[in-house]
Symmetry: C2
Subunit: 412 residues, 2 copies
DNA sequence: TCAGCTAAATCCAATTGATGGATGAAGTCA
DNA sequence: TGACTTCATCCATCAATTGGATTTAGCTGA
């Protein structure tokens, strides 16, 4: 049920609106903020004073006069707030410390052994994160919390990961609670693709305002959906399951049991398999693939590099996977009517041009929306660390975004 | 850019929240409203008084005591507000007059000749609508406006229909403006599927609270998306394009140019064609199909009736179309993470069981969400007139729903 | 150089709507 | 009949926005 509102909440909301506008529209004056938000000059003045007092924005110089008193420009203060972000992946955890401007201050990569024990992983990661914050000497009072981006399905209500296909043995692990206890900080948890989308929205400024579909290529494929500046979480907290969109069916059975799913055609393992099947052992040897499932991560890296340097066979298998991704993207775009698709994730490194091109072709040559305006296909503005930065953004976003309540441990 | 808020708006918002709660939760007491909305008893009391004064709700009896004073129950007052709704279709326009409770007071069906002249159609429909309102003797001051549900793409910013595939010659017709001038009332315009979804949300009460996907079978196929009690319009006002989701590809080229689209496999014309192709002229004769494209509407009706009465060939072609719809629905459901799919539209009459069954199979046997909870597949609570009632709901919804601005003619 | 003008930002009184605590109203139960 | 509950409202207070007046700061032209 939709909740009612009261005055303090209105105040907080308007503060969030103004801060968001200052963050995304760069240095901006009070009058412009008033015009943008529809609030009175007076109100903007009041709100800005509070933000100044809170240390979240600063006055940075003045704009040239337009006939009268010059406007004083306001900009976000990077050291106004900080957040820690963790991206959990089967073989490594990436931890970052991010400031209000979205800049990564320090980062650390923790190799994880597969399979790994949840309690052990949480313990190691939490300690590493706390150490990172300590050494960076940020004001502890301005460290807002820890965000976690986890692969696979999440139970939104309990804050647990639900048997992610890539983390064997992690069934119903209450990550939210575990990290809250280990760090004694507010903790936010989300699906990696959704976290990445929030990160783009938070860091991307005007280029990521409004609505977009974020396609995330990590160990699997997923999507984050931002509609009208708000992330879609879905009834069970799992919106954006991209791997189960229907595409041209083949013989492969998805782990969900279906045969028409996108998922089994564009995972690293599947693409490597394609190469071996279609182009033979010789091609694999030339490229340098071991073909050993245990060294999947390395093989995938090698294959991507081969594709980037133009190896025909590598390009071929990547392209046919990308074509299917394009089909799915076309459907998603026309269903959601977004005019922007953003690509990201470390699994994309090296093959962006191919994937971008295929999605562009699929989306812009046939979609109905094309008649109205072309759909932009762009790369993440954050880059390789979207997952971790996105996780940190969960916290910042949760604290400073209008109309958004953080998915956090009630006890914390 | 996200707008700021002010006190009058808060007041309006809370009034809308409370009215919405009274509408959806049937007869309900003030205390329950307070608990539901998170507002104070005091505030609810104030808000309710305003709603009573405005004539939008009434006190209807009292609940049995639970140990103290009995709660007085509040219910929406059907005669509190009215709206006209028009569903434009290639061969007919359905006009309804709806009250605040969502009851259809009067309705009228206007046969349209194909092809038809936009100006002429608007003129006839507008006059019929006005006459309907006049004869029903509703208080003109409580008639809030006219809603239009039009097939095919809409240009949200200009309020025009953009070359709907089923209305030849209707390219960029500014329906919003034309109807506003013809009726001198506030006018709202939306895609038929989206309008139908809003209608379900408005009429359906608790059964349609939260999020759902509405699959609309009219002359074509479309979907309306409701997420967290809010309709998704999309960047260009065309969210829910369901016909361009990818499914098992065949040889048919969609009017968008693609080959993997759902659309060309589940239109009435396509299904009739299937029957002729797969089961021959003999089957068509047995069922009673003319096969003449000019009598498409009639043929489609006949075919549906045959399917309902169990004709094997008819069931076969309907089922294979339904199977594809199921594939698309599965993708949409996992992407949006909704836990309810609603079916409606007059093109569904007679074949609901088959379509329902196929979607159920596709969605609930393979979706990931299934692991968490089954997805409900239900029929429209409104029935055949969803289109028109939905159109009327556009107006009611626009006036009385929290956080929603009506897509209306700025001049009106 | 100074008065006149313009635009930005702030001060002040008024208004609106929610809140918490106290009070009245209506019933139940022993 | 009296004690207790629950519902609903009254009253003073508080928080936030608004509109108009005022101050601050820079531009312009005689």
């Amino acid at each position: 049920m939709l909740g009612g509102t009261n005055l303090p909440r209105v105040g907080g909301y308007n503060q969030a609106v103004v801060l968001d506008a200052i963050r995304t529209r760069g240095p901006i004056s009070r009058v412009e903020l008033a015009a943008l938000s529809g609030l009175t000059n007076q109100t903007v003045s009041n709100v800005v004073r509070k933000l100044l007092d809170a240390g979240l924005v600063t006055e940075t110089g003045q704009a040239p006069s337009s006939g009268g008193k010059r406007r004083t420009l306001l900009a976000p203060r990077p050291d106004g707030a900080y957040a820690l972000g963790v991206h959990l992946d089967p073989d490594a955890a990436v931890i970052v410390l991010v400031n209000l401007a979205g800049e990564v201050l320090t980062s650390r990569r923790l190799r994880l052994s597969v399979p790994s024990e949840p309690a052990d992983v949480v313990d190691r990661v939490a300690r590493a994160a706390l150490r990172l914050a300590e050494r960076s000497a940020v004001d502890p009072g301005r460290l807002l919390g820890l965000g976690i981006a986890a692969p696979g399905p999440i139970d939104g209500s309990s804050g647990a990961v639900v048997s992610p296909p890539n983390l064997p043995g992690w069934d119903r692990v209450p990550l939210l609670k575990m990290f809250a206890e280990a760090t004694d900080m507010p903790v936010a948890l989300d699906n990696d693709a959704t976290a990445a989308a929030i990160g783009e929205r938070w860091i991307g400024g005007e280029a990521r305002a409004g609505s977009f579909l974020f396609i995330y290529l990590g160990t699997g494929i997923g999507a984050g959906i931002v509609l009208n500046n708000t992330v879609l979480h879905g009834d069970s907290g799992n919106a954006g399951e991209f791997g189960h969109l229907a595409v041209e069916p083949g013989d492969r059975v998805c782990h969900c049991g279906g045969t028409g799913c996108l998922g089994p055609y564009c995972s690293p393992a599947a693409i490597i398999d394609d190469l071996l099947r279609l182009h033979g052992r010789a091609a694999a040897d030339r490229i340098g693939l071991t073909g050993d499932p245990a060294s999947l991560h390395g093989d995938w890296k090698v294959l991507r590099r081969a594709a980037r340097t133009g190896d025909e066979d590598a390009c071929d298998v990547v392209r046919s996977a990308a074509r299917r991704i394009g089909q799915a993207a076309r459907g998603a775009v026309s269903l959601l009517d977004v005019s922007r698709v953003v690509l990201g994730g470390e699994g994309l490194r090296g093959i962006e041009p191919i994937v971008r091109e295929e999605i562009d072709t699929a989306v812009n040559s046939t979609s109905v929306a094309r008649a109205i305006r072309p759909i932009a296909i762009e790369q993440s503005v954050i880059g390789d660390t979207v997952g971790a930065v996105g996780a940190a953004s969960l916290v910042l976003h949760g604290n400073y975004t209008p109309g958004w309540r953080m998915l956090t441990d009630p006890s914390g």
